[in-house]
Symmetry: C2
C-alpha cells in the first residue's frame, strides 16, 4: 500500500453553551447546494487547516468566525480518520471549492465552551447559526453526529473532574444555576442540600453579597468561581483514594 500523500486535515468544533435550562450546541448550515446536497443540512462549524497554522489555531479561527469571540475554552478530543469519512458528492464539492485534489480528509474534533449571553446569541443568529438542544439532535452531515457524541462524552468526563463548568456560566451565577448545569450535562438529578454543602464547603465558589432582583420569590445570591482555591486544591486532589502517603 503506498504512502498517503494526499490528505487534507480539518478541525470540527462542538461549541457548547448553557441557557440555564439545557445544554446547547452551535450548529450551522452546510451553506452550499451541490448535486443533491442541501444547503440547509446542519453541521458543526469547522475548517481546513492553513499553512503554518497549528490545529488549536485553526480551531480558534473557526470559533472566532462563528461566535465572534476570542479566548474561548477549547479542548481537543479525537481524530476521525476513516478513509471514506468524506466521500462522494461531499468530497467532490470540497475539492472544487478549495481548488485541491484530495481523496481524503482527516478531521480533528474540538469542543469549546462559551458563556451564552444576548450578545453572542445575536451574533450567531446574524450568522445564520443556531443553538440547539444537544438532546434533540438526530442528524448532522457526514460523521458530525459521531464527532459531537465524542465531544459530549469528553465534556461529561471533564465536568466531573475539573471546573470547566464555570466556562459555561456568567461570571456571577447562583448555586441553582451551577447545579442545573451539572444536571443538564450529566443527565443526573442532584440533591440540592447536599450539592450546596459540598460546593460551598469546597471553597471553590465565593458569595458576592449581590442578589437577584425582580424575581417573585426569595432572591438567590450570586457567587463567583474562586480559581486560586481550585489551583491549590488540584495539588491535593490528584491522588487515588487508597493512599496514605506519597513519595515524589
Amino acid at each position: 500500500m503506498p504512502l498517503e500523500k494526499n490528505t487534507a486535515i480539518s478541525v470540527d468544533c462542538s461549541v457548547f453553551g448553557f441557557d440555564g435550562k439545557s445544554l446547547k450546541v452551535l450548529l450551522i448550515r452546510r451553506n452550499y447546494s451541490y448535486d443533491g446536497l442541501s444547503a440547509d443540512d446542519l453541521k458543526l462549524p469547522g475548517a481546513m487547516i492553513l499553512e503554518n497554522e497549528t490545529l488549536p489555531e485553526a480551531a480558534s479561527r473557526v470559533l472566532a468566525e462563528s461566535t465572534g469571540l476570542d479566548n474561548i475554552y477549547l479542548k481537543q478530543t479525537s481524530i476521525f480518520s476513516a478513509p471514506d469519512r468524506v466521500s462522494g458528492k461531499e468530497m467532490e464539492w470540497i475539492c472544487r471549492f478549495h481548488g485541491i485534489n484530495t481523496k481524503r480528509v482527516v478531521t480533528v474534533g474540538y469542543y469549546a465552551l462559551v458563556k451564552l449571553n444576548p450578545g453572542i446569541v445575536s451574533y450567531t443568529s446574524r450568522k445564520g447559526a443556531k443553538w440547539v438542544d444537544v438532546d434533540s439532535i438526530r442528524t448532522l452531515i457526514m460523521d458530525h453526529m459521531e464527532i459531537l457524541a465524542d465531544a459530549l462524552a469528553n465534556l461529561q468526563r471533564e465536568m466531573t473532574h475539573t471546573p470547566v463548568a464555570f466556562e459555561l456560566l456568567p461570571r456571577k451565577f447562583t448555586v441553582q444555576e451551577l447545579q442545573s448545569l451539572f444536571e443538564a450535562v450529566t443527565g443526573i438529578c442532584i440533591d440540592n442540600r447536599n450539592f450546596r454543602k459540598k460546593i460551598l464547603s469546597s471553597g471553590l465558589i465565593s458569595p458576592t453579597g449581590e442578589y437577584e432582583k425582580n424575581v417573585s420569590h426569595k432572591p438567590a445570591q450570586y457567587y463567583i468561581f474562586n480559581r486560586s482555591v481550585y489551583k491549590k486544591a488540584v495539588k491535593d486532589k490528584f491522588r487515588l483514594n487508597f493512599i496514605n502517603n506519597w513519595t515524589y
Copy 2:
C-alpha cells in the same frame, strides 16, 4: 494564508510494559545517519499513514512491526501539529526516504500496553529495540519527549479510572505485582492492607488457588482479572458522588 495542501500524517506509539519493578517504554534507534543526524538517537516507534489506512490501523501496524504482537491495547492521545515540529535535516531526510515533498508532518500520539515476557523481550531485542525505564529518559529525537510525556499522563489518568492495569500484567499475577504496578505508574506509595481489602472486596480479581513456587518466603497466591465483574461495575460507577438518584 493559503490552505495547507501538503501535510503528511504519522503516528507515534508509546509502548509501555511492566517488569514487576518499574514502568518501561519501548524505544528504537533512529536507524539512519544523515548529515549530522546520528543513527543511534532514540525515538518512539512510528510510521507514516498509508493510503486507505485509518490511524488506529497505522498504529497497530507499527506495533506489529516493533513487538511482533497483535491485539495490543491501544489508545489515542493527542495530536502534535506545530508547523515546525519536523524541520531541517529531519524533514529533508523524510522527504528523501519517502520520495515525497512535504513541508510538514502532523503526528498522532498513541499509547499501547503490552505484557512483558521473555518472548516479547527477545523479539524486541532482535529488532534492536530497548525497554527503558520511563523515569530515566532524558532526550528523544524531535518532540518525542513531549509525545511520551503526554502518553504517560494519559496512562496515569486511565489507570486510576479503568482497569487498564491488567493489560500490563500476565494473565495470572499476585496482589503485590498489581500494587507495585499502581505504585510504579502513579509514583505513590500504597498501604498493602488497605490495597488488598479494596481490590479483593471489589471482586475485580479472583483467586486461582495456584501459588508461587521456589520462593524463599511464603508463596503468594495468583489471581486473575474478572472482566465480567468490571463490566457490571461500570454501569454503577460512572456517577458523581453527590448524587442520590438519577433519571435516564
